[in-house]
């Protein structure tokens, strides 16, 4: 199944969740947020939120700035 993760097309296993996608990218425990099709997904529901074909997932973290 193909989804867009942080702007790049990726193949993920069918049945993947937002939590799976996040853990593929980073092992950081804190300071990370995820959105599914521009809606924030609270960390507590990452593993209960499935991603579907062509979904857009963004995973953000705090970086130096401002």
């Amino acid at each position: 199944m193909e989804v867009t993760v942080n702007g790049e097309r990726r193949t993920v296993a069918p049945g993947s969740t937002v939590g799976d996608v996040v853990r593929d990218l980073t092992r950081a425990e804190g300071g990370v947020a995820a959105s599914l099709n521009d809606e924030v997904v609270p960390r507590t529901t990452w593993d209960a939120t499935p991603v579907a074909e062509n979904d857009r997932v963004d995973v953000l973290t705090a970086v130096q700035g401002g």
């Binding site: 942080n6 702007g7 990218l25 980073t26 092992r27 950081a28 804190g30 300071g31 990370v32 947020a33 995820a34 959105s35 521009d38 924030v40 609270p42 960390r43 963004d58 995973v59 953000l60 973290t61 705090a62 970086v63 130096q64 700035g65 401002g66």
Partner: protein, 278 residues
Amino acid sequence: MTSTHDPMTTAHGAPGAPGTAPDGHADPLVIAGRRFGSRLITGTGGAPSMQVLEEALAASGTELTTVAMRRVTPGSDGSVWDVLNRNGIAPLPNTAGCFTAADAVRTARLGREALGTDWVKLEVVADERTLLPDPVELLDAAERLVDEGFTVLPYTNDDPVLARRLERVGCAAVMPLAAPIGSGLGIRNPHNLELIVEQADVPVIVDAGIGTASEAAQAMELGCDAVLLASAVTRAQDPVLMARAMRDAVTAGRAARLAGRIPVRRHAHASSPPADHP
């Protein structure tokens, strides 16, 4: 938020005993009911390394520090978030890089989720070249974020009317620029900053454009409640030493403001008694 004519009366209470330099305990910065001993808010952008950044933050004495939200790149596990946590510094996520209210609102929500704070430094800029705030988008975003329960600290132009509008929609502070971001040009329009300070009932924080310590002190002398700066420290030749200088400048400027400076005169005014010639 201190008025020009009566600098000793502040909403924060008495600054301390006469002749005592006010410290963070006697004269805290209060934003949205939260007290800070330091009136220096720092950014984290531009530091040559995470280690230098950490030392500079410690030397600055800051208790509140901005971070930006960006897409995770694989393998980037050591983060600025860890640095802030280790040093007990509260994170202030910003919306840098947003050009529309919709973008800024989305970024603020992600910052809240990632960092567990509903405080946001709201930045909505008009273009890459000037990085000046877009007043229309800024006000729109501020209103929406306040409605969503955020504590909104907007980076704004040095425009007293816009500052008033931002306060009126419920912002917890107003943060007028001294000069464009990263320019180090210092305070270009002290008169406007004074106007903003005179009318504001929320803290006024000078944000952006400070280049060196005397300019940070000047912002405090004008009656601003705090100074926010990043590049002036992180891009200085010795960031840690400059961080210390900024800490001292903000403290000195605040003390001078509370002390009440002498009036400016066109002619000399002898400080010694007249000579007693025989």
